[in-house]
Symmetry: C2
Subunit: 559 residues, 2 copies
């Protein structure tokens, strides 16, 4: 049972390592962990979280930088474990505060963040590292360990300090036949474990999934079969950073003599980077420019697109609404080679229904094996615990159901219960003499990005938005002569999202007028007090008469 009541941590003693997750615990996204020892800070990842339906209008959610805002001068670097948005997406916002924090990551990871930073007109300091490499940054000695994930070139990082050794997995799984033959390096895990890992921060995303994640290469034959049997065009949608998934689409297309056109800005950009760096191996002559695709006969083309989550503005949703230049029709085959992220179901099914109605055959993970996860399932995590034998464990990356499931796996493999820490964002853990313990809990907020505003939108604004969404609003404007209390203008009643016909307010206007007149007769002159009277009058009417609770916005001003 996790207790997240706020309690100030003690001052940090020299020689003690402090670990504070600023995001990614109790949620899937905005992963960020801060390590501090002897006055210096190291950050691992700085990602974004995508909003839920209860956070309307929010574009992104950032980790809360507040606890380290005054300490950014002491940060020796940001280690980026891999190039997914939930691990790198907040870097531009952090560098806008201090631009010269060095970024440390693998070659693909840095190429992806650099392309992103370019859009923000930031050129970062960066240090490219590879598995096996050791780097010293102030009091931190970093050793990088290859891990397998749904994007190439992912790294775990061992952080060695005078206080002990931490291993942070980043996101990982243990595909034993990965497409690039780059395995999660269990030999390195074994070696680190033999020396002794004091604190293990481990990906929990699939900890509640029994068994093992299937091989990425098990998808290839399914893609080959579907593409081989397709009578007309094939459109495949997936994540724009999933190099190995795209690789398998290219290979399957090549096997059946089809050309592939990449569509969607991020798909084109990321695959360009991946091909240039050698992570994507494009079969000779297979890739063609999307502009040329219409010259190719329908049974010789594959479109590789984004939009697998039903995002309304992405290519696939526009195709389903016939709003894209590629007009999907009878005989076309659409493959959603992707997961279905919780919360996106209705949007994805809307796209599938739209495409089906246009006559396309839609293949997705619900009816074919066209997706595998990028995260270690429970069976793989057990291997990890057994080979590592960590002294202390803190599950990271996941909602509480994932963190608790992961904690149970740690205990099942023999990690003593007291050494398994289920924390949340802001849980302060100190490590010293092989002992890790919770020493405090600091307050961590949600930092909402909306348009060009960062952190301005509050939870109260979101609550207002939810009320507006549920019931709309009624605004009542009145100008009152405060010397006499007489109504000079109004009451003007307007509403949006509430009722199609504002005539229904004819009934309440006399009530407002009467209430204000009575208040004036009783000597009330304060506009705030008068506006509360308007609120109560309208609220009572709408509630009894219409059984609804729209937002009521009464404005009374002096005139």
């Amino acid at each position: 049972m996790h207790d997240d009541s706020i309690s100030e941590p003690p001052p940090l003693e020299p020689g003690t390592l402090r670990v504070i997750p600023l995001g990614g615990l109790g949620e899937v996204g905005r992963n960020m962990t801060v390590f501090e020892i002897d006055g210096k800070l190291l950050i691992v990842d700085a990602g974004v979280l995508f909003p839920e339906e209860t956070q309307p209008g929010v574009d992104l959610i950032l980790p809360d930088f507040e606890p380290i805002r005054q300490r950014l001068g002491d940060v020796v670097g940001i280690v980026l474990t891999h190039g997914h948005e939930d691990h790198i997406g907040a870097v531009p916002y952090l560098l806008k505060i201090r631009e010269d924090i060095p970024l440390i990551g693998s070659s693909l990871t840095l190429a992806l963040i650099e392309a992103k930073l370019k859009e923000h007109r930031i050129k970062p300091y960066s240090l490219t590292v590879a598995e096996g490499q050791v780097e010293k940054l102030g009091p931190f000695e970093l050793e990088f360990v290859a891990v397998n994930h749904s994007i190439p070139d992912a790294l775990a990082v061992a952080i060695k300090t005078s206080a002990g050794v931490v291993l942070h997995t980043g996101d990982f799984k243990m595909d034993q036949l990965p497409l690039d033959n780059r395995l999660t390096d269990l030999r390195a895990f074994a070696r680190l474990g033999e020396v002794g890992v004091d604190l293990f921060l481990v990906d929990s995303t699939n900890a509640d999934v029994p068994g093992f994640t299937p091989l990425e290469r098990s998808i290839g034959p399914v893609l080959e079969q579907v593409i081989g049997a397709a009578p007309r065009r094939v459109i495949v949608a997936s994540f724009s950073s999933h190099v190995h998934r795209v690789q398998q689409v290219l290979d399957a297309a090549a096997a059946h003599g089809r050309k592939v056109a990449l569509i969607g800005r991020s798909m084109v950009r990321n695959m360009g980077i991946a091909a240039e760096l050698g992570y994507l191996k494009v079969p000779e002559g297979v890739l063609i420019d999307a502009k040329r695709a219409t010259d190719i006969p329908d049974d010789q083309i594959v479109y590789m697109s984004t939009g697998s989550q039903g995002e309304p503005m992405a290519v696939l949703a526009r195709m389903a609404n016939l709003e894209h230049q590629i007009e999907v029709g009878e005989g076309d085959t659409v493959i959603l080679a992707s997961s279905l992220i919780p919360g996106n179901e209705n949007a994805v099914y809307r796209v599938i229904n739209g495409l089906t109605k246009l006559g396309a055959t839609v293949v997705h993970k619900g009816n074919a094996k066209v997706h595998v996860s990028g995260h270690a399932a429970a069976g793989e995590l057990l291997y990890t615990y057994n080979i590592l034998k960590p002294r202390n464990v803190m599950p990271v990356h996941g909602e509480y159901r994932h963190l608790y499931a992961n904690a149970k796996l740690a205990r099942d493999t023999g990690v003593p219960e007291k050494n398994v820490i289920v924390g949340g964002n802001g849980t302060v853990v100190d490590l010293r003499d092989h002992v890790a313990k919770v020493v405090g809990q600091i307050d961590i907020g949600m930092v909402y990005v909306d348009g060009s505003s960062v952190g301005e939108i509050s939870d109260a604004d979101l609550k207002d938005r939810r009320v507006l969404a549920e019931e709309g609003f009624i605004s009542i404007f009145t100008v009152v002569d405060t010397s006499t209390g007489r109504i000079v203008v109004g009451p003007e009643v307007h509403a949006r999202g509430f009722a199609p016909d504002e005539k229904i307010f004819d009934e309440v206007i006399p009530k407002i007028r009467q209430a204000l007149t009575e208040a004036a007769e009783n000597g009330t002159r304060d506009t705030h007090a008068l506006s509360q009277i308007v609120r109560r009058t309208v609220g009572r009417w709408v509630n009894t008469k219409h059984r609804r609770r729209p937002m009521i916005v009464p404005i009374v001003i002096e005139g």
Copy 2:
């Protein structure tokens, strides 16, 4: 490919049967089909649809009664196939228009709708029927056929007319070892098929699920095992009408010497009805009043509740937020013995995370076999087609992906392609001389219930609500002397859901003032034209300066 462009159907000729689905095609819910021959109408089901996240604030969606509103006097009856909300929920709204339309259904179905109508103070005319029974209503001869579903006492209905025979399955599956031994009557299907079924309207909900729905009774041993191993309290959540699921919980509790308390108003009401009518067999002494439950030791009680879909006001969500008198804690076990309806994922996971954080073990269909569907999967539908050999098929009950999958199963079993009709709501199908064909498409709207309003909220209001939800609103109130064009009061700028500090509007107020003054100088006096000027001024500012698009509500009035 389904074409839903509107086209007026021809006048109905005597001796021809017309079939019009008013809801349930292209959606999961608000099932309702109208049959007409020789001037008389028969309705099968009148259910509600639950709103999606794109329909904020909507309580329910009704079938569109408009096409039959003027014909209700000719309706001979409403057949209710079973007691689920998506088949009976719209009946009160229909009876509010004509109260004496007879309801025809099985004993449990009628008991459930009568309890519902009582809340609306309607006492209906009703006719209780059972499987095997034949009833004549005007030109329609109805034969009722037992079907198995996730609620007892469900019926399919064969509608025999001079134009031919229709079989409507309602919702069904083909559990071969149902708890109540009441099988879907394939002998009756065979007999009807031998005589000849001209049009088969068949449940599509699980048509895209390969294979067979597992047995309901396969859940029993899992419930027994979990309840047997639970150290403290057990809380089971499911649908309040799932009599057989509750039966299995009662039996498992009894097997382990536990008492069961029903909680949640609909659970108590429905199980009371089911027990009274003999559908729920309560083991001696097992059920206790919820008020007495706290007297029972923690390891001897099971709470049976609602809220399995994460509904915020239901018992389970309140428990997860510690807002219910039953305080969930360490050692408690919660079982979600239910499906996860698309769109509810985040709400359900919020509840699971909350309960996990409180220390409870949460068992759900993601980690244990505690749910089976109530609908026939593809394998079962194939049996149905083969035993029935219908002349014409129209899949009903489902989104387009379901309807198309079902249509394919029909074709796979040999129904000629031209005899398989994939239609939508409002598709008009005429049957005569064993031939069913689409003769028109009428317009079917969404009828939203919000509070006490029915059909008042329009799609435009919902669009307003979505804009308000995304970005909030800015209202600008100005009183202008229309003789001079001079601003008398304002501009008063207010916003909700947009920004926490209204000071940001200090910047735009002079711009509004200037724009209105310039307009006045150019002789503009019309308040509507002036309000458009305000809209453009504020819109341009908020868009360039803040990159956002809130709703802008400019109000300019004469003063």
